[in-house]
């Protein structure tokens, strides 16, 4: 039970608040966090912009409580989809480490589980579930390695949200039997975060067993992170990185025809 991750920290333009949230997360013991950019394509044609560079936030990342490594910060995109045309994977998605979708209808949920190229499927916590979970898409998602996410911060804020969260979470657990579930915060302020052991205990209320609860914040999150990394690679084997070549080398290469250029493989 070593590595805890919190994969949902809402992006705010207020840098100070974002920094304090990440510092609190490091203090509580989370080794990795992900800044979540939510895009709702129904509203006034929002564009999917590039994520802000993580290095802009911190000069030195805060060190995780109990370990000697600094905290790792990822970028994540959540697409709120109420229409099948909203989700179109294109090059902009590649700039993010994790991609999530929040389906609003049953058809979209089925499509997201079976076909969409996502890592996380968000389960509604702020409203009553408009559709029921069926076994077939949920099992299909489990086989593909897609995870279901439950966010706990609305439950902390408001009492009616608490009821929706628990109701939706229990109906999800009945269908998926506790597999492939991650629990994340949707923290906007540093006081909305909770420690990992507290969350592992809180999910007992959702119907998860003790072992599943601990996995929901550690091993399953790590699996999501790896799943997101495989999207960047070819078949999960080759990882390409853009490397800045010095100008002179590039010009020299242009003179040599393609067939005679040396085949270089960089790992």
């Amino acid at each position: 039970m070593a590595v805890f991750m919190d994969l949902n920290i809402t992006y705010t333009t207020d840098k100070k608040r974002l920094r304090s949230v990440i510092e609190t997360a490091a203090h509580l013991g989370y080794s990795t966090v992900a800044i979540n950019y939510v895009v709702d394509l129904q509203q006034k044609k929002q564009e999917i912009g590039k994520p802000k560079c993580v290095l802009e936030l911190f000069d030195t990342f805060p060190i995780v409580q109990g370990k000697s490594r600094p905290i790792k910060v990822l970028n994540r995109l959540t697409v709120v989809a109420s229409d099948p045309s909203h989700f179109r994977p294109n090059a902009e998605y590649k700039a993010y480490d994790l991609v999530a979708v929040y389906p609003k209808t049953e058809k979209l949920f089925h499509a997201a589980c079976m076909t969409f190229d996502v890592d996380i499927i968000c389960v509604a916590v702020t409203e009553k579930q408009p559709f029921f979970f069926k076994r077939s898409p949920v099992n299909g998602a489990i086989e593909r390695g897609v995870f279901f996410e439950i966010s706990y911060t609305p439950a902390i804020r408001d009492s009616t949200m608490r009821r929706y969260t628990i109701a939706n979470a229990i109906s999800l657990m009945e269908t998926c039997k506790g597999k492939n579930v991650i629990v994340t915060s949707g923290a906007e302020k540093p006081l909305e975060l909770r420690g990992p052991y507290d969350i592992a205990n809180l999910v007992l209320l959702f119907g998860l067993s003790e072992g599943d609860g601990k996995a929901a914040i550690s091993t399953n999150c790590r699996a999501v992170h790896l799943h997101g990394e495989t999207r960047k690679t070819a078949l999960g084997i080759v990882h390409t990185m853009k490397k800045d070549q010095p100008l002179t080398e590039r010009q020299e290469e242009e003179h040599v025809p393609v067939s005679k250029r040396a085949k270089i493989e960089t790992v």
Partner: protein, 185 residues
């Protein structure tokens, strides 16, 4: 007179049958109160945490929770300077009470509301095991915070804070030191 030996139920070897004591097992939850600005921490006292925890359990688990938390639930120790709290509950119900602790959003003390949250660090069966964990945790905290201290005075006050958080010794030291040393500036 026939000497029955140990077959006499009033003899010493059978006394445990008569005065059998069911051991009341409890769990001690070691929690840390996290606030956004540390000067607010000094205002807290154990009654505030007790009422906040009872209210949270009652809200989350209703009348059943409120009844359970009235059984053997108490705040055993509170260090206002570092924000460490020991909560004691019955072993049979500690999970229920623990599951309601994340819902605490603020503590009230003498009319002032301090927004905060409780972070549970360790669950132990006795106060001694919690103390042992606390010593390890504090040494880790010291390693994290000493490089960040900018002056000698801050370093001494950090050292003092963490050493004084050991329950038994801390009371003696905290009472004798002047209060100016205790402020974490």
């Amino acid at each position: 007179m026939i000497h029955h030996g140990s077959r006499n139920i009033f003899s010493s070897r059978h006394r445990h049958v008569l005065s059998e004591m069911v051991r009341l097992k409890s769990r001690y939850l070691l929690c840390e109160v996290c606030v956004s600005d540390r000067s607010n921490l000094l205002l807290l006292d154990d009654r505030a945490i007790y009422t906040a925890a009872k209210a949270a359990v009652a809200r989350a688990h209703g009348d059943y929770g409120a009844a359970l938390s009235s059984l053997g639930f108490s705040v055993k120790y509170l260090n206002a300077h570092t924000g460490i709290v020991f909560l004691r509950c019955r072993k049979s119900h500690y999970r229920l009470i623990w599951s309601a602790l994340p819902f605490i959003t603020s503590l009230e003390n003498r009319g002032q509301r301090v927004p905060c949250f409780l972070n549970c660090l360790h669950v132990g069966g006795t106060i001694r095991t919690c103390q042992k964990f606390l010593v390890r945790y504090n040494t880790q905290q010291l390693h994290r915070m000493l490089p960040l201290c900018q002056s000698e005075g801050m370093r001494w006050s950090a050292l003092f804070l963490y050493i004084s958080s050991l329950p038994m010794h801390g009371f003696l030291i905290a009472d004798n030191m002047p209060s100016s040393l205790v402020r974490f500036e």
